[in-house]
Symmetry: C2
Subunit: 199 residues, 2 copies
């Protein structure tokens, strides 16, 4: 079996965006396959009792300073989104829907949505803005919206979010190397170490 | 003014212990003075609304796995304390009391208490165990207990904990380089970078 790691994420999480910017380099450096696992972070929070750091004022303020430091270290753009938090239910359904039905279009979608939220700081709570972002990225917004309303897609997002919770996920991003779990975009070095330990 | 960094901690925090094991090396590598700042983490949590990760079952379980990974990276011993959480009010009063009255004895005290909790996994909720630990470290337990009951010492711990909250602290350990705040034993590399940026 090829060496692989799982990358569990939600578009609404700036740490997930930061990690996403590093996943390709991690895969390349380790020769491991990156397996993107979309999940609904709100569902994970509900199931585990965990909360966004933004719910604690002092922690929320610091968290963005910390993310800025990592963005500088990674040399990637990151902008605070004034519309945060974004309700990502439809966006995450789009991600699992494309994985099911059009896997080749999954990564362009992921790139476009992460960029819209965390680089262009757009209001993806607004369906019109989502439509414009998708159109600019070469998608048919109406077809994608229909996909997110598909019962199989809705059920799939519920099932994978439940899988995440059962495996111990409580936040995003979360990496797995086999059964070893790593929480946070700041644990990529440990993920790399785990992949290198099992060639 | 000599280059310096502040290290805010509470004995009850395993991440504070891990950071403590690295502080001397950080000071040596950067030529900066380490300023130990004891605080009452419970007071910080109360003031900010923050909570220990241990209050979320999945997060609490993971956190200790994460600490074990850092202990291995740092090549330092770390053992889970079955008596966790430890009520550290008296222990932190001892720390600020020694800083006020016997500063030369502060660091041996800090070393002894951290080691008792996070290496020897002792029950420092038990005053008899605390007494034995202090005696073994060359302290007079009765004199130290009297120090922790001193009104000036009690007020000092309240005041410094309030100072921490006012400066944005919400967890432990927290480092400051001037006004730049860094939360977590996993941010020592950023602290180092900040110290190196201002020679």
């Amino acid at each position: 079996m090829a060496k692989a790691f799982e990358f569990w994420f939600d578009f609404g999480s700036p740490a997930s965006y930061l990690a996403h910017t590093q996943v390709a380099a991690l895969a390349q450096a380790t020769g491991a396959q990156a397996q993107y696992r979309p999940m609904l972070l709100g569902g994970v929070f509900q199931a585990t009792g965990n909360h966004s750091p933004a719910t604690i004022a002092a922690k929320g303020a610091y968290t963005f300073i910390d993310f800025d430091r990592f963005a500088a270290r990674y040399h990637v753009p990151l902008n605070r989104n004034p519309h945060f938090p974004i309700n990502t239910l439809t966006l995450m359904r789009g991600a699992v829907g494309l994985q099911l039905r059009e896997p080749d279009r999954f990564m362009p979608y992921v790139d476009a949505v992460f960029r819209a939220i965390w680089v262009d700081a757009l209001n993806l709570n607004d369906p019109a803005v989502v439509g414009a972002v998708l159109q600019a990225a070469g998608f048919d917004p109406a077809a994608l919206l229909a996909l997110t309303q598909d019962a199989q897609v809705k059920d799939r997002l519920k099932a994978v979010t439940q899988e995440a919770v059962e495996r111990g996920v409580f936040g995003a991003p979360t990496f797995f190397v086999g059964s070893q779990m790593f929480w946070g975009q700041d644990r990529i070095d440990f993920v790399k170490q785990a992949l290198e330990a099992h060639p």
